[in-house]
Point group: C2
Chain length 233, copies 2
DNA sequence: GTCCGAACTTCATCAGATGAAAGTCTATGA
DNA sequence: TCATAGACTTTCATCTGATGAAGTTCGGAC
């Protein structure tokens, strides 16, 4: 069958997606060899070049390993690029496992308070203004579940951006890929949203005043509440 | 000329490295087109297949973007996979910029205290034992600069591992790629090493006792000291 | 000056051929 | 029977040539 999310262009991208998704969701088990090139050519309906290019991309993400004459096999999970945008969207895309939700929630608890602290240390005037704008948007959308999700993600991104640290911001961007997918399932209630506003406000105020200790504590409150919600629902 | 770090195998990997390193170190500026396929074939001394496969890998890491008939160009830095193992080793490999050292030090300050906190929440007996073993190795190698670096990285990895969170551990593994390169330049003195032992010990003890608050504070002390060192030298 | 289209550039893909390396099978000798 | 060397097979690695598609550019018509 066709199953062509890529109508005519980007044949190799089709290969990347078809194999990558199957690896990440566990259909292709690490250690086992994947079908040989010729078979993939038939299954996916593309030429050998496209297969090879796609396989090389996945090898670059640590998902596959090709060895001459020994076939191509799925690499162990430890070597996957877990924070790759594609890998994350395959993992959290369709329906995330309960364990993955916990991993995500814990990661935020581990990361965001510290990020808020560094943001309070490093924020310049422009960054603070962006945080304030994001906070205003948060207040403005508190009654609308969907826009609120966007505003919330934007607020947290503004905080990470204030830390003036591209690695940190990259980590957040990757987390937000997963968050956005998960949020749309675990839709939070309007009352819930309104309850988090004061905590977000405290984060913004603390960063504006360069009070890194308070910024960290306030952000911890935010993400601990989010974790409790995520694990309950 | 040959310039073959890859004697006969992995031609496409040669392409990935040659182009990737030039992009990350700034020789190839984002937005500018890279030489056309045919020219790369000549420059790099490989066939078109190898060039195309290598380019696809770099596109998968967000470094390149190919458009039919419009050439292949370097993507803006915002779309790079900054936590990709290759990208990090190109960035921190040869001689890191002063700004990058700061980014790395700040990242640890933002991340590691929170990771230690979650580790204290989630650690099981086996994880605690691994931390204790790593701590013992740290004490045992305090007089030896090089082995101490390894022991230090292993200790921090054990803490991250105790958090039972593959994303967090992945982030640490990537950071440690950068750290290892940087450390070998900024070699710390033996007396310096011995001074950090008590703080590391406090981290281990706090996690063992599941005291997340203390684990976080102790780890903060460790990474703040490391940051101060890194920025001074 | 503007708009349309033809020629050109450059990547996208397929197909065929050759080669290399790793595994597999077989025959031979002890 | 068992071990082993060598031939054979499998499968990826790479090169090359050909065709196609989609932008880009440039000239000409109005």
């Amino acid at each position: 069958m066709a199953t062509d999310p890529y109508p005519d262009t980007a044949r190799h991208a089709h290969v990347v997606h078809a194999l990558g998704a199957r690896i990440v969701d566990g259909s292709l088990v690490p250690g086992t060899p994947i079908p040989i090139e010729e078979q993939l050519v038939n299954e996916l309906g593309v030429g050998r070049s496209a297969v090879r290019e796609g396989v090389k991309v996945l090898a670059g993400k640590g998902l596959l390993e090709t060895r001459r004459s020994a076939g191509t096999r799925v690499r162990p999970r430890e070597s996957w690029s877990l924070l790759d945008a594609d890998v994350l969207s395959w993992r959290f895309g369709a329906d995330a496992q309960a364990g993955d939700i916990r991993v995500l929630a814990d990661l935020r608890v581990a990361l965001e308070p510290g990020a808020a602290r560094v943001a309070a240390e490093r924020a310049d005037a422009a960054a603070i203004q962006r945080i304030d704008e994001a906070l205003a948007a948060l207040h403005a959308t508190a009654d609308d579940p969907d826009p609120f999700i966007d505003a919330d993600l934007a607020f947290h991104r503004a905080v990470f951006g204030a830390a003036d640290n591209d690695l940190l911001l990259y980590i957040y961007d990757m987390i937000s890929i997963a968050l956005r997918s998960v949020r749309q399932v675990h839709t939070r209630s309007v009352t819930h949203n309104k309850e988090t506003l004061p905590n977000h406000e405290r984060v913004a105020v603390a960063i504006r005043r360069r009070h890194h200790r308070k910024a960290e504590e306030a952000m911890r409150e935010v993400v601990e509440v989010a974790r409790a919600d995520a694990l309950h629902c």
